[in-house]
Symmetry: C2
Subunit: 124 residues, 2 copies
């Protein structure tokens, strides 16, 4: 499922800059126009949650610096923490080798999980 | 997208044990019978990759202790590292609050990424 664009730029020397528009357009959006996002606390490495973005939510995340997802259940933009106050400030966005997953490094304010837990992965 | 089963067991005291079969059956498998999996190095917290499992690959991961995905591009079981030798030993499996994402804590042997990099998230 490796995409030509990401294969092509893979050998580029570290520090090479690419067009942000190209990059975002080439992401492996699903048929529903979504991409999975892993959200990780930037300093501790704690994986907080997994959610989805569409193009608009990704653009908002990048322009505002506040992580904004696409809620598949409510079918609307979802600025994380807009009701709970538990905002996620974007520290860095990473993209994987296939362009089919985003990794958001964030600074999480309060609990990331709607249950009040620090992260969503509490079953083991 | 919270599922009734996971809502119901959410308030259970820490340490409560659940039927593994119930748990696996209740996961939010997609229409294609898949679930997204985040793979993290257990000690450093490094997020290594994101991939997908079906029921069979999850069962194999749990029974063998070697992380096995479902390859969507090759449409077959994919024991991570079976050709490269870069195996992933399962340390702990975590499940999120909605039962729609798995987090595999692993001990990664060698590079996790097919490009030879330690992890797949090298674009930023």
């Amino acid at each position: 499922m490796t995409r030509a664009y990401f294969q092509q730029i893979e050998p580029s020397p570290q520090g090479t800059e690419f067009s942000k528009d190209d990059f975002l357009e080439q992401l492996a959006w699903t048929r529903d126009g979504l991409i999975p996002v892993i959200t990780q606390q930037h300093d501790s490495g704690e994986v907080l949650m997994m959610a989805w973005m569409n193009r608009e939510s990704l653009a908002l995340t990048l322009s505002t610096g506040w992580v904004t997802y696409w809620s598949r259940s409510r079918n609307k933009l979802w600025k994380k923490g807009e009701s709970s106050g538990h905002l996620q400030r974007l520290i860095k966005l990473r993209i994987d080798c296939d362009g089919d997953t985003l990794l958001c490094l964030v600074d999480q304010d309060g609990a990331a999980c709607h249950t009040g837990r620090d992260n969503c992965f509490y079953f083991s």
